[in-house]
């Protein structure tokens, strides 16, 4: 199983690619709604890409209240 740091890195890579922002501008503790300026539908797209990448399911109710990459990575890590 990858480490939490690896999972977080991969999520940051996915987000940078999806929203076309330089990878180095994203950090694990960033609020992705604010940092990426995304709306709820875009967050849902990000969730779908993350699910596809890791081959897991993350019910969207587990994303409610989560806005930073590291916490999101923890939720994914729990299903790997």
């Amino acid at each position: 199983m990858p480490s939490i740091d690896q999972t977080t890195d991969e999520i940051l890579d996915l987000a940078a690619k999806q929203f076309k922002v330089p990878r180095e501008t994203l950090a694990p503790g960033d609020d992705f709604f604010k940092k990426l300026g995304i709306d709820s539908l875009q967050a849902l797209e990000m969730l779908t890409r993350i699910e596809q990448h890791f081959g897991v399911e993350l019910p969207d109710y587990e994303m409610q209240g989560v806005s930073d990459f590291r916490t999101l990575a923890n939720r994914i890590q729990a299903r790997l």
Partner: protein
């Protein structure tokens, strides 16, 4: 008429395939205007059926296939009414949308929903009325209604139960979670998954295959294998109306309409 261009939907017939296009921004929420145009479509479908073998339903909006019922319209139109008038209005809407969904479900043509993005609530129920669902890999399916204290009201529960069984219905209904296309495929909900942006192309290829068959034989096969769950659909309307009278529903609708939360696509 062979084509129609409305405010919320359009349709056209070409090469024995009817394409019904949803295009009401922001996410094809189904309110009274869409319902009225869907009713027009169902009237036209009777005549178009003589020249067609298949129907494809799809959306041209980036957000997705359909986000479900227009909850803002429902809330705002209900607000000035007393409880009885509010309930009468909801029941009338449900009776009308059920007539549309039932007609689409039972049409002799083979129907294909080409789905991308959000396919939630009433949008999911529209897709479920079709014979086949082709999903873009980014599509998501969800019954969020319990978050409002309601059940899906456009016939989704009986149709999903008919097609997949009770356990899948319970999972989606009782958790309100959304599932991706891969999960939907493994559950048997989706018949084919397409690459991003390719659902319509795959649906068109499927429709082209359908047009090769004898229309009468296809219609007989469909009628044999796809019964309309009429009794459960009727009970669904009654249960929806019963739940709708609860004060918590209007409070939930108000919260949704006024929400500025990040995940506001879900009530």
């Amino acid at each position: 008429m062979n084509s129609f261009s409305g405010k919320t939907i359009s349709w056209s017939l070409r090469d024995s395939v009817i394409e019904l296009v949803l295009h009401r921004a922001p996410a094809n929420e189904i309110g009274t205007e869409t319902l009225g145009e869907l009713e027009q479509f169902m009237v036209s479908l009777g005549a178009l059926s003589e020249q067609a073998s298949a129907v494809i339903v799809h959306s041209t909006l980036r957000a997705g296939f359909c986000a479900g019922a227009d909850l803002r319209e429902l809330y705002q139109s209900s607000l000035p009414l007393d409880a009885k008038a509010r309930l009468d209005g909801v029941r009338e809407f449900l009776e009308r949308i059920h007539a549309v969904m039932n007609a689409l479900d039972a049409t002799a043509l083979t129907t294909i929903a080409a789905v991308h993005g959000v396919c939630f609530g009433g949008g999911f129920e529209l897709a479920l009325a079709c014979d086949l669902i082709v999903a873009d890999k980014m599509a998501r399916f969800c019954f969020p209604e319990l978050r409002l204290g309601l059940i899906p009201g456009f016939g989704g529960i009986p149709r999903l139960k008919r097609d997949l069984g009770n356990a899948v219905v319970r999972d989606l209904l009782l958790t309100g979670r959304s599932i991706n296309a891969a999960k939907a495929l493994s559950a048997g909900l989706v018949s084919q998954v397409a690459a991003e942006g390719e659902a319509l192309r795959v649906a068109r290829a499927t429709a082209a295959q359908v047009t090769k068959f004898d229309r009468g034989a296809s219609a007989a096969a469909k009628k044999f294998i796809k019964p309309i769950p009429s009794e459960e659909l009727r009970r669904e309307i009654d249960l929806f109306c019963e739940l709708f009278t609860r004060p918590a529903v209007m409070a939930g609708l108000r919260k949704f309409v006024e929400s500025t939360e990040a995940l506001s696509y879900l009530p």
